[in-house]
Symmetry: C2
Subunit: 425 residues, 2 copies
């Protein structure tokens, strides 16, 4: 499938996490970007489709660097509750009833929502990674799976098995070692994770310092922060990172730098569950890599990178009481290249020749994108799902003008999701 | 124009700021809702249009209770700057160059964006209220204008003139007394405002306690908070309220209660300009009326009630470190009936027989609205401009499936907005 975009504005990654807009053509051959230019200095292939972008903006697809996609069934099911009650009385009892088949359909609902928000890949932690990966492969969506291993579910052996199954399933699916969190996982199990990561030469990912109580209790148990503890267990020989990273402490920043870890921020979830506000400016000032995630739809409640980008920037500003800090280019970098770095998707990080064709067309002919004073700021501060005109993953258009081309009827997916939660009421 | 909505879910206001969803038909005759029910117990008029809602949700239009619509030209022009530098070096010099004609077109751009977000009326403070009102009347949009009077522009006499011009212009336009802020307005001018409000029996509205420095300096100047000072000048004999209300102090809550004032929160702007987080829970607990506004597009940078609703709830939660506080129904009440109360639009506050037909159809057949566990929570926590299928103001459909019916070509409006800011670069 060869696709020509013409009359396009194209968002190119420049130096120092900045972006530049060029005008012209972008050519996709198969799954790869083969040409960006004015179209006069290269020989085009035979086109399967030519898309007049009409002056709209092509951007690299967003990378959702932390989520639990299969939790779509719990959207708006139980909100406005304290975290403990929410988890133990609402979430866990219902998750316990999920079958592999349920999770397959719930993943597809989440993937549909990602596509509406210009998200072209997710870094997913949920039950049944091979099932989640199959839902991605079947719909044409790119996914990186990790394990949510903890004392209540999973084994290191099963994780190793899933690592191979998912990595071998499809070009679109990969697996990185991970586990749920220090507060849910025994030291023995964590030691097993570290050994597996070293054996597989894999980074390790974990929920890290999401709440104050998590950090306080970890320090009581071990005399160390979650970052210090996991580092002391040899987790990060091949890098990795933490999800949330709200309550990180002074020594943690040094470990993030020394190990080259990425901090993934999940601002909407951190607000809604009253967890706190991530010290984004400090991470940026320290030169620590950052990425952005939606967290799962039960705590957010939506899967929308525009909302997360706005929050990541503006919560940094209000946290530091400094309107100048963490500007729009830095945020857009986190949401695209930063996420790709975290997810080991370096061939999907930007629009450039040789990169995979994970591309979003942004509709600029909407009032919230006008005037065109600064397209990056328009995207980060004013952008909305309404502006996503087309989402292409791996060279294939999966979403365009509110229609999906993923091999499933949306009405069927909605009916299945309603039936799954309906069964549990 | 008589319009029948059928196969609809209809969001009805219940007691205690709660909502209920009913299913059936909603009939609009002229500018008014004439019937809600199953359609079997009333005689229909001759229909000009019958709309199959296909199970989608009708809600009352959102009321944007504080904005500066004409600032659309400055969207993404200057961001990531400290407030003082932003205002004095970027905003004021360019606003000084605006003509009445410019402001007319910039208002229409803003009105278009409101319609995409299901906003059916705005409470607007900007230069040239009669021009702003004319842009609303010409497009069919409902507006409440107030004055931005301060030491650098306007007079009490001009405000009185504008009061009559705007109130008499159209059924869609009205005017309430206001001025910019304590820190920009002399005591003599404020006393003039208070006298005018008493003469006209009008509420008074003002930017109040937006930043800490504003409150600190007011207390230095007058030994009183902005709320205390304005109250002491006799401003609130007929009520009114404050925009922003971030740094309100203990005695201020009593004044809000005694005078029946409304606090309008503007959370996106307060984050982006690093002003702070409004004590929403405290206002709600005190039983003080609240409403929600976007503030102007230069500081936000978009006009999106979905984003503001999510922020109003979740910032309250993280401010209080209490995930339970300020739930979804309370927020939706603020964004609809609360705003209508603030704007003296009691005939537009809800979907009920006899109310004006300011109605939004929400597309539930989108992944972010599924499953349908709780439609109010879906709206507040997961809703997006993408879900606005149709916006009707005063019985006329102004926006439907991304097309506008406002008497102007969007391309022309975008070109004018780009030309206005282009002239100033």
């Amino acid at each position: 499938m060869n696709t020509r975009f013409y009359h396009a504005k194209i968002l190119m990654l420049a130096e120092n996490h900045k972006f530049e807009v060029t005008e012209g053509e972008l050519w996709v051959e198969g799954d790869t970007i083969r040409y960006i230019g004015d179209g006069t200095d290269a020989a085009p292939p035979a086109w399967d489709r030519e898309i007049d972008a009409e002056g709209n903006l092509l951007i690299p697809g967003f990378k959702n660097a932390h989520t639990h996609t299969g939790m779509t069934f719990l959207r708006s099911y139980a909100d406005d509750l304290p975290l403990h009650e929410w988890l133990h009385q609402q979430v866990f009892p219902r998750e316990g009833q999920l079958t592999e088949d349920d999770v397959y359909w719930l993943n597809i609902l989440g993937i549909m929502e990602y596509l509406t928000s210009g998200i072209t890949s997710n870094f997913d932690m949920y039950f049944f990674p091979p099932v989640n990966a199959k839902a991605s492969a079947d719909t044409g969506f790119r996914t990186v799976q990790t394990s949510g291993l903890n004392n209540f579910g999973g084994t290191v052996e099963l994780m190793e098995e899933n690592y191979h199954i998912v990595n071998e399933l499809s070009d679109l699916t990969s697996f990185i070692v991970g586990f749920h969190a220090e507060y849910t996982t025994s030291k023995e199990l964590m030691e097993g994770v570290a050994k597996l990561a070293q054996k597989l030469k894999s980074p390790v990912w974990v929920h890290n310092s999401e709440t104050k109580i998590e950090v306080d209790e970890c320090k009581e148990r071990w005399g160390m922060t979650p970052t210090q503890l996991t580092d002391s267990l040899g987790m990060y020989e091949y890098g990795g990172g933490g999800y949330h990273c709200v309550w990180v402490e002074e020594p943690d920043f040094e470990i993030f730098k020394k190990r080259g870890l990425t901090a993934v921020t999940n601002p909407a979830s951190n607000l809604k569950l009253a967890s706190g506000i991530c010290p984004v400016k400090r991470f940026v000032d320290e030169g620590i890599a950052m990425a952005i995630g939606t967290d799962g739809p039960a705590s957010n409640n939506c899967l929308d990178m525009f909302r997360e980008m706005f929050l990541t920037s503006t919560l940094a500003k209000v946290r530091e009481m400094d309107a100048e800090c963490v500007g729009a280019d830095e945020i857009l970098y986190m949401a695209t290249a930063g996420g790709a770095h975290a997810m080991q998707l370096s061939d999907c990080d930007s629009l450039a020749v040789g990169k995979k064709a994970d591309i979003v067309m942004i509709d600029l002919k909407q009032p919230n994108m006008q005037p065109e004073n600064n397209l990056v700021k328009n995207l980060v501060y004013s952008g909305s799902k309404q502006n996503v005109k087309l989402t292409m993953v791996n060279g294939k258009v999966l979403y365009e003008n509110q229609d999906f081309d993923i091999g499933f009827d949306p009405a069927e997916i909605y009916a299945r999701a309603n039936a799954i939660i309906g069964r549990m009421k």
